[in-house]
Structure formats: structure tokens, C-alpha cells
């Protein structure tokens, strides 16, 4: 890629577009936003294509000292690459989703989204801890505005809850970061990832980071901001919230908690697994009784994110890779499910499940897409959800069969609440005339759902494209944390093998006389 600072370019394009959007009228703002996000998507593809699998761990690095050890340092490994690609992939879709449904303050809205894109790419590309912190926390602001200004009726409560929750953890994280920089003498993340902190210090550092990441994830019981935020956010806000913002917690765990505090991570394995198990069972059951589509999907997100945390703390390659694929998969699938809700919400202006029904009749194409994403959410093999679930749980099984057993009940409950949702929305009689009169997908909506559907199937059938860039990084992380890996509960102990098959019969039966070659 030569010396072209592609990561900086990916930050600059949406930043300038955001500024431009503030000064133009609605139609122009939409065009600028779409153009900028598409340019970034193209840059993202260039980034992916230019990423040298098996090359240096950190690629496309840029570094400029700013002051006092703080530096503008960018660079990505395979993990960051995949999350950046996910972000730039979802962004144009979000802009399309807002094309008609956002009618007030369009310029500011587009600016907020583009600014969000800057921050998301920044988070994943930052190599300086404070730079990371700035991007990480600043990401709150545009989301806060998107919910608070363009949200639903109860948007103020939701946005304040969202802000309060996510801010709480970040203070502790900042203190921990300051301490770490003081201790290690650098703000450079790759160096810190190799730095061995004293095990006692690790414990509280881990907890401080946990406070922030657990809320972002969100893990049970820090999850109650999510359903409210999703319900009140405009469609595109939900997509980006589920698609990218929720991945910040997982990214934090994989970038900070695990490599920097391996001993502490091992110490808290059961905290993570415990919370994950509770989350899967409890939030799945809650999802079962929801009447609001967005709330249902929001609760299902919590359950899926629990698989991510469990996979991350399985301390093995399958768990880590499964967790990463789950983040990507969930980003696509739940994003798509929110789009599906948005498409019918735009026409009927209600998220009440019972107001719909029989949509397969008047919206067959929509029903097909919705079915695909429902199945991907359930984790049907052939879709991305399965690869994610399977690898994560296979990883967890190496640690604990019990945790795996509880987490795997999610496949039953997940099927129950998603199919129950699908049945009430797409099947049954057309109860309401207005729902029956809804139009099937427009070209714009096709353009939103089609690419995600293709990506979901691609990731399900040939996940190698997504696993390959991350392989070396995950292997390095696995090697780094291997020393602290918890012992599994399988503990296979060899024994004397059986001498013969279970149904072995004594040979040379006397019955030859009886006509063994007879009928039977």
C-alpha cells in the first residue's frame, strides 16, 4: 500500500463529509453522506485486499508524536480489520435506511452518523491507549444525540439511561489507564499487550476495564439500557448500535483485558461464564414474552453477546475465533433484523407485534429476507450464526461442560422466541387491513437487505475469508494467555479398552445345520 495513510483517509473522509453536511440542505446532505460512506466502503475493501495475511502483526501503521508520550498512532491487525470492514459495510446501509424516514434536521443527522463512523474506525485503528479512550468514549456522543433528537416518544429517558450507564464504567477505565501508563511507561497498545503487570495489580485493573466493557457489551445485569435505547433509536441508530457499538465491549476484552491481564482474566473466568449463562437463559426467556419487536431483538442481542463473552474467556482458539465471528455475525444479523423492523415500521408506525400478521401474503420478498435473518439469528448451519455459535461453544466446552450445556440451551430458547416472532409477523391471517396493504420491498430496501443477506450466507458457507486475516492474531493471543488458561473439566483418563464390540456374539454358531443360508 506504499506510504498512503489509508487509515487516516478513512477517518478524514467521513469527518469532512460530516462538516459539509452541517451546511447543506437535506437532499444534498443525504447524497454527501451516502457518497462518503461508499467511498469509505471502497477504502475498506482496499484495506482488506491490501491486508497481508501472514505478514506483520500490525499493518498500515501511522504514528505521529503529539505531546507527553501521547501519540496519534494508527494501525490494525486482523481483528481490527474485520471490525472496521463491518463498520464501513453497515454505514451506507444505515444512510439508506434513513433516506426517507428521517425528515427533520437531516444535515445534522447525517453529520452525526458520519461522525460516528469516524469514531468507530478510530476505536478499532487506534494504537495509542489515550487515542483509543477518546474514540471509545466520544462514540457515546453522536449515539446520544441520535437517540435523543431523532428517537421515539420516550427518547429522553432512553438516551439518559444509555449515557449514564456507559459513562459510569469509563471513569474507572480512565483511572486504570493512567495507572498503567505510569507503570509501563508507554501509551502504545502493542507494547502494553506484551507487558506483564503484577498479578495483584491485574485484578483491579481488570475490574476497572470490566466495568466499562461489561456495560458496552452489554452483559447481564448491565444490559437494561439496551432495550430502551434500541426501542427509542431510529432504525439506522439501532443498526449501528447493534452492529458496531455493541462490539466495542468485545473488542475491549480481546484487545485489553485478555492480553494485558491474563492472570486476572483467568481469575474471573467464572464470573464471566456465570454472567453469560444467566444472560443466555434469562434474556432469552424475557425475549419470549415481548410484544415490541425491537425489544425482542434487543434482548436476543444480549443473549448473543453472552456467547461472545463466554467464547472470549474460554482461553482457546475456537472460543476466541467463535467470539469474533459471533461479533461479525451478530453485527450483520441483528442489524438486518432491525432493518426488517424498520421497513415495516416506516409503513405502519408501530412496533407492536400483534398489529402485524400474514405479511407473507402481501410482502413475500420481505418475508423471505426476514426468514433468512431469523434463521441466522437462530444459528442455522449455512448461515454465519452457526459458525459463530458452534466455534464459541466448542471452545467453552474445553473449559466446562456445564457452562456449555447451559449456554447451548440458548439454541432451543432462541428458536422459540425467534420463530414465535416470525409466526406472529409473517404467518397467520391478515388481521389488520393496514398491515395487509403494506407494500413489498422497494429497490432501496433491496439494496439494504441484499448485501447483508449475501454476507451472512458467505460467512456461513465459507467463513475462511473472515477467519484467515484473524488467524495469526488469535494464535498470538492464545499463546499469550495460554499460561493462565483454566483447566477443563473433561479430564479424560485412559482406561483399559473393551476387548470386543458391545454386541459381540460368540462365533461359529452351531446353527449351520439350521439352514443359515435360508430366508432369514
Amino acid at each position: 500500500m506504499g506510504g498512503f495513510p489509508i487509515l487516516s483517509a478513512m477517518l478524514a473522509v467521513p469527518l469532512f463529509a460530516a462538516l459539509a453536511c452541517l451546511f447543506v440542505e437535506a437532499k444534498m446532505a443525504r447524497t454527501i453522506a451516502l457518497g462518503a460512506t461508499l467511498v469509505n466502503l471502497a477504502l475498506g475493501i482496499v484495506l482488506w485486499a491490501g491486508y497481508d495475511i501472514g505478514g506483520a502483526q500490525w499493518q498500515f501503521t501511522e504514528r505521529a508524536e503529539v505531546f507527553a508520550g501521547f501519540s496519534y498512532a494508527l494501525g490494525i491487525d486482523g481483528i481490527a480489520l474485520m471490525l472496521i470492514v463491518l463498520s464501513v459495510f453497515l454505514m451506507p446501509i444505515c444512510i439508506l435506511a434513513s433516506w426517507e424516514s428521517i425528515q427533520k434536521r437531516v444535515g445534522e443527522y447525517m453529520a452525526a452518523f458520519l461522525f460516528m463512523e469516524v469514531l468507530m474506525i478510530g476505536v478499532f485503528a487506534a494504537q495509542d491507549m489515550f487515542l483509543f479512550y477518546i474514540f471509545f468514549e466520544a462514540g457515546l456522543i453522536p449515539m446520544y444525540l441520535i437517540i435523543g433528537i431523532w428517537g421515539g416518544d420516550n427518547r429522553i429517558y432512553a438516551s439518559y439511561k444509555f449515557f449514564l450507564y456507559t459513562l459510569l464504567g469509563s471513569v474507572l477505565m480512565l483511572i486504570a489507564m493512567l495507572w498503567m501508563v505510569n507503570e509501563a511507561g508507554t501509551t502504545y497498545i502493542p507494547t502494553l499487550m506484551q507487558y506483564d503487570f503484577a498479578p495483584e495489580a491485574q485484578t483491579w485493573l481488570w475490574l476497572a476495564f470490566f466495568a466499562s466493557f461489561a456495560v458496552k457489551m452489554p452483559m447481564w445485569p448491565f444490559h437494561t439500557w439496551l432495550p430502551d435505547a434500541h426501542v427509542q433509536a431510529p432504525t439506522a441508530g439501532s443498526v449501528i448500535l447493534a452492529g458496531v457499538l455493541l462490539k466495542l465491549g468485545g473488542y475491549g476484552f480481546i484487545r485489553f483485558s485478555l492480553p494485558m491481564f491474563p492472570e486476572a482474566s483467568a481469575q474471573f473466568v467464572w464470573l464471566i461464564l456465570g454472567l453469560s449463562m444467566v444472560a443466555v437463559v434469562v434474556t432469552s426467556l424475557i425475549a419470549l414474552v415481548q410484544h415490541d419487536m425491537k425489544k425482542l431483538i434487543a434482548y436476543s442481542s444480549v443473549a448473543h453477546m453472552a456467547i461472545v463473552t463466554a467464547g472470549l474467556f474460554a482461553f482457546n482458539v475456537q472460543g476466541l475465533e467463535g467470539a469474533m465471528i459471533m461479533m461479525l455475525s451478530h453485527g450483520l444479523v441483528s442489524g438486518a433484523l432491525f432493518l426488517c423492523v424498520g421497513i415495516i415500521y416506516d409503513q405502519l408506525h408501530t412496533r407492536e407485534i400483534d398489529r402485524y400478521g400474514g405479511l407473507s401474503i402481501n410482502m413475500p420478498k420481505y418475508a423471505l429476507f426476514f426468514l433468512l435473518f431469523t434463521m441466522a439469528s437462530i444459528g442455522l448451519p449455512g448461515t454465519s450464526g452457526f459458525v459463530a455459535e458452534f466455534l464459541s461453544l466448542a471452545g467453552v466446552y474445553k473449559v466446562s461442560s456445564f457452562a456449555t450445556f447451559v449456554l447451548t440451551t440458548g439454541i432451543i430458547l432462541g428458536a422459540a422466541y425467534m420463530l414465535y416472532l416470525y409466526r406472529r409477523v409473517a404467518f397467520g391471517e391478515q388481521k389488520n387491513a393496514d398491515a395487509a396493504a403494506m407494500k413489498d420491498l422497494s429497490v432501496r430496501e433491496w439494496l439494504m437487505l441484499g448485501p447483508i443477506a449475501a454476507a451472512v450466507l458467505w460467512m456461513g458457507v465459507y467463513p475462511e475469508s473472515f477467519l484467515a486475516p484473524m488467524r495469526a492474531d488469535i494464535a498470538a493471543l492464545d499463546a499469550r494467555i495460554a499460561r493462565a488458561a483454566p483447566e477443563g473439566d473433561a479430564k479424560i483418563s485412559a482406561g483399559e479398552p473393551l476387548q470386543e464390540a458391545a454386541n459381540a456374539m460368540p462365533g461359529d454358531h452351531v446353527s449351520e445345520t439350521h439352514g443359515a443360508e435360508g430366508a432369514h
Binding site: T224, V282, I286, Y397, I492
Partner: protein, 663 residues
Amino acid sequence: MQTILLIVFLPLLAAIVGGLGNRMLGNTVVKSITTGALFVSCLLSWPIFIGFLNGSLTAEVVPVLQWVQSGNLSFDWALRVDTLTAVMLVVITSVSALVHLYSWGYMDEDPDQPRFFAYLSLFTFAMLMLVTADNLVQMFFGWEGVGLASYLLIGFWFKKPSANAAAIKAFVVNRVGDLGFMLGIFGTFIVFGTTSIPEILAAAPSMSGSTIGFLGYRLHTMDILCILLFIGAMGKSAQLGLHTWLPDAMEGPTPVSALIHAATMVTAGVFMVCRLSPMFETAPTALMIVTFIGAATCIFAATIGTTQWDIKRVIAYSTCSQLGYMFFAAGVGAYGVAMFHLFTHAFFKALLFLGAGSVIHAMHHEQDMRYYGGLRKKIPLTFWAMMAGTLAITGVGVYHLKTGFAGFWSKDAILEVAFARGTDMATFAFWMGVFAALLTSFYSWRLMFLTFWGKPRWIESEHIQHSVHKTPEEAGEDTTGGYKPHESPLTMLIPLGILSIGAIGAGQAFAPSFLDDAAFWGESIFYNENLIHAMHAVPLWVKYSAFVVMLLGLFGAWLAYIKDTSIPGKFVEQFRYVHQFVSNKWYFDELYHFIFIRPAFWLGRKFWIIGDQGMIDRFGPNGAAWVVSKGTVAAKKLQSGYLNSYALVMLLGLVAAITWILM
């Protein structure tokens, strides 16, 4: 062997083209594409099967695409073809092709035909992926793929609430089994470091003495792995405990019942146990459980079958029961025999279902046998097809003449092999099997007599009343109500004819290979030569036991439904509670409703209202907000603006500070 690629992927291609083309292509085009693809697949499958029959082909794996590679866990898309696969190939593609053809007639008036045919082809593709799997994960792919197709087809008439409920039930109950399957795969991966089936089978014997920790217990490795995998098989094959979805699945169109819920998908569990037979042979306890569950299901389902009125439900319970036979055959180590019964059962059970569909078609969608009667002369071709199916399922044949219908060869072999095995569990299975054979004969003939013999009782049916626009009072003496049952069109009769040939001759033709030819099976299953020798050597009374109970069942049915039709009523009167218990399907649905479904919704509401809103929100963000707002009230009081109170606070502070310094 590259033809396997065509066999497997043509149906997928047809499903995609047909499904997405839908209205754009129109009914005839989509139907032709899907049906055509299936017939091509079928024609390509038979040479493979014949190749294995005459020994000219050997097992082979055709790689397709890399799938997942994660650390030491890797599995690819690949198509495995060996004898076991070849048997399944012909079963699946033949029945599927015939069902496609049959559906031309049966679904003729449906407004949504392209979707139906696309689903059927999609199902076939998934089923083929299942049986060609070379690793457990691809098998799971097929497993879930057929589950999806089954869900879509059961719920095909998605406006009906009952169909939707049945579809969800089928999927979710299967997922309970899948929980076991998935844990089984994880465990297998931990123990063997691979999911490749041949590698697992090769390594299994060496692990047979080892123990493993599972949920806090220490268990025999191979036993727990096989039990977990078998739980998956129980779900898909509707075995006792996880069977509740199968009868409800009859909400789907009848061709679906024939293809998915009789001939192919539900046998996937049996296929899995046979595919992994060398592994199961290292797990004695697991095999005991397989035998027990199989035997228990075969008798349990048969009892219910005798009390149902819906023609499709009778056959559904019959399927459940026959699957039980296959499982206990596998459990006692006779995998070839289990596969043989799977093979013959596919033909005669598909025939019975399609025949029932033809009856339903003739009777204006009426499914209740109480409103049939006297149809023998009205729809003779359907009658003879059903007769062939009934003779096959009841196992008509004479040992000394060495002739019989398909079921005679396979079911009798199962009973004999269970007897020959000789263990307590196998003997239990034998007796259960014999008793179930009696009931099989009874409910099968009951179905025949109620449907085809006796006086017409048609006018009682609401469907018929709708058709002839008469009430029973208006019809008076004429219990037909003037309704004219019509024989089905040729597209439906041809499949019935072909399947009849299978039901009559499949046993006779293939018994030597399936039962006695170790070379035919090769390495594809665990072939227990000594057991087969013992099977042929069982006493004569064992060989005739099935024949005798078949006659008893026939006699009982004749007595109760032809000779003196008041007997069933009297019987029910006499044994009211037993009858109620059985006809209510042993109250499994009610039980599950009370211990699983209601608590799940109740818990969900409680977790939501009390947990999330009442606890977390109340003491979390809302609590924090409350503290802040109360705090500001307190702070406001402090800033009163009165100089004297400020002075007082200052003074107190000063005193405190001085005290602290002096201390």
C-alpha cells in the same frame, strides 16, 4: 463418482431457481424444473446403488469446499459415498421424485405451488447433504437443513394457526434433541480432536475404557458421547419423549408427510446411529438405552395408533412405532437389519401416506376415518395401493415359502435378531416388538376396514356436507349424501403404482444383500456376522411369531370393524380410563405444556417485570437518578443564603479541623 455432485446440488439449484423465480416463472415451469431435477438425481442415484450391490464401486469422498479451520478444529464440505450413503441416496431421491410428481396432482388447486415445490427440493438437498456427510458438522448442517424444510412445509398453509403451532413445535422439539447432538459433537471433538467420522470411528475402540468429566460426573467416555448423539437422533426420529412433534406435523400437506415424516427425514436418527455404529459398539450402556428407547417407542406409539381417528395420525404413530423397531435393531447390533427396515419402510410408508392422501383427495379433504367407509369400489386403484402398503407393513409372508411383502422380510428379521441377541434388554425388545406387531396389524387393518369396507358414513363429514350442500337430515337414508368420490389423477396414481412395486418386492429382492452380505456393507457399518448367523438359527416359533400376531391383529380388526361394529364402543365403555389415557396420547402434550411451556413464559414475564424493571432498573439507573435528585434537594437546603447558618457551618468546620490537627 463425480455424479454425486449433480445428485446433491441439482435439487438445491432447482430450489433456488424455483423459489426465487416463483410467480415470475409460473407454476408449470417451477414444477417442471424441480421435478425434473429430482428425477435426474434419482436416475443418477440408482447406478451408484447398483454399483455397490454388485461390488463394482468402493467408498469414496468427493471434496467440495473448505468450511471451517479454527485451531485444531477443522471440517470441510465434502460428499461421502459408500454403501450406507448409496442406500439412503436411492431412498431419498426415489421417494422425493415420486412425491414431486404426486404433488402435481395433489397440490393442483393450491395458489402457492412454486413455493411448495421449492421447499420440497430444498428439503431433498438438505437430506442428501446429511447422508453424504463425512464429518459430524456437515451431518448437523443437513440435520438442521431438513429441520428448516420440515418447519416450512409443516407450516406451508401458514394461515392456519394449528399449522403454525405444529411447525414451531417441530422445530423447537427438534432443537432439544440438537442440544444433545451439539454437545455430542463438542465432546467428540475434545476426545478425538476431530469431527471427521472415519477418524472418530477408527479411534473409538481405543477410548472405550476411558472416563470423562461431564456436568460434574465422571462417566465412561464413549457411553456419554453416544448417549448425547443419540438424544439428537431421538429428536429427529421422534422417539419416546421427543416424539410429540411428529403427530402434529401432519398439519402439513400429505405429500410432505410421505416424504419427510415417513420415508426420509425421520429416519435420519437411525441413519446416524448406523453411520456411527462402530462408535456405538464401544458403548454398551448407550446401546442398552438405544434398545430400550426403541422398544418402548415401538409399543407406545402402536398403542396410540389403535385409538386415533385421523387417517394421517394413525400412519404417523405407525411411523413412530416402526422407527422404534429400527432403533432397537441397531441397539442389539444389527445395523444392516435396521437399515433394511429403513429401506423397505420408506417404500411402504410413503405408499401408505400417499394412498391416504389419495383418499383424502377423493373425500374432499376429510381426514376422519369415522366419515369414510365403503370406498373400495369407488376408488379401486387407491384401494389396491393401500392394500399393498398394508400387506407390507403388517409383514405378510410365509417363512417356509420364502415369499412375502417388504415388511415381512425386514420386520421379521428385526424380531429374530433381537431374540437371537439374547440379552435381557434384547429379549425385552423382542417381546415388545411382537406385541407391537400385533397392534400394527390391528391398527393397519382397522384403517383399511374403516376406510374401504362397511357402509358409507360420508354425510356426517362437514367437508362432504359442504361439497353436496346437504345436512345429514336432508340426506336421510342415503348416507353418501350423493357425494361421488373420484379416483385421483394419473400424476398421483403413477407414484402409488411404483411404490406398490417397492412395497411388494423390495424385501424379497434385496434381503440377501442387506441381511447376509457382509461384503455389500463393506466398512460403512459395523457388520456383526455372528449375530446374523444366530438370527437365522432362531427357533421356528420365533420365526412364525410375527406371522401369528399379524393374523391375530387382522382377526381382531375384522371382528371389531366388520363383523360386529358395536365391539369398539363396548370396549371403550369397559376400559374407559385406559382408552382415555391412550387416546390422549398418554398426556405427553399436556405434561410438557405444564412443565416446560407455561413455566418458560411465566419465568420470562417475571424476569422482565421483577428482574429487569423491578430490581436492575430500580436500583440501577433509576436509583442513581433518585439519589442524585434527592441529593440536589439536600444541597439546595444547604445553600439557604442565611449568613448565620453559613457561619455556623464554618465554625463547626473550623472546630473539627483544629481538633483533627491537635489530635
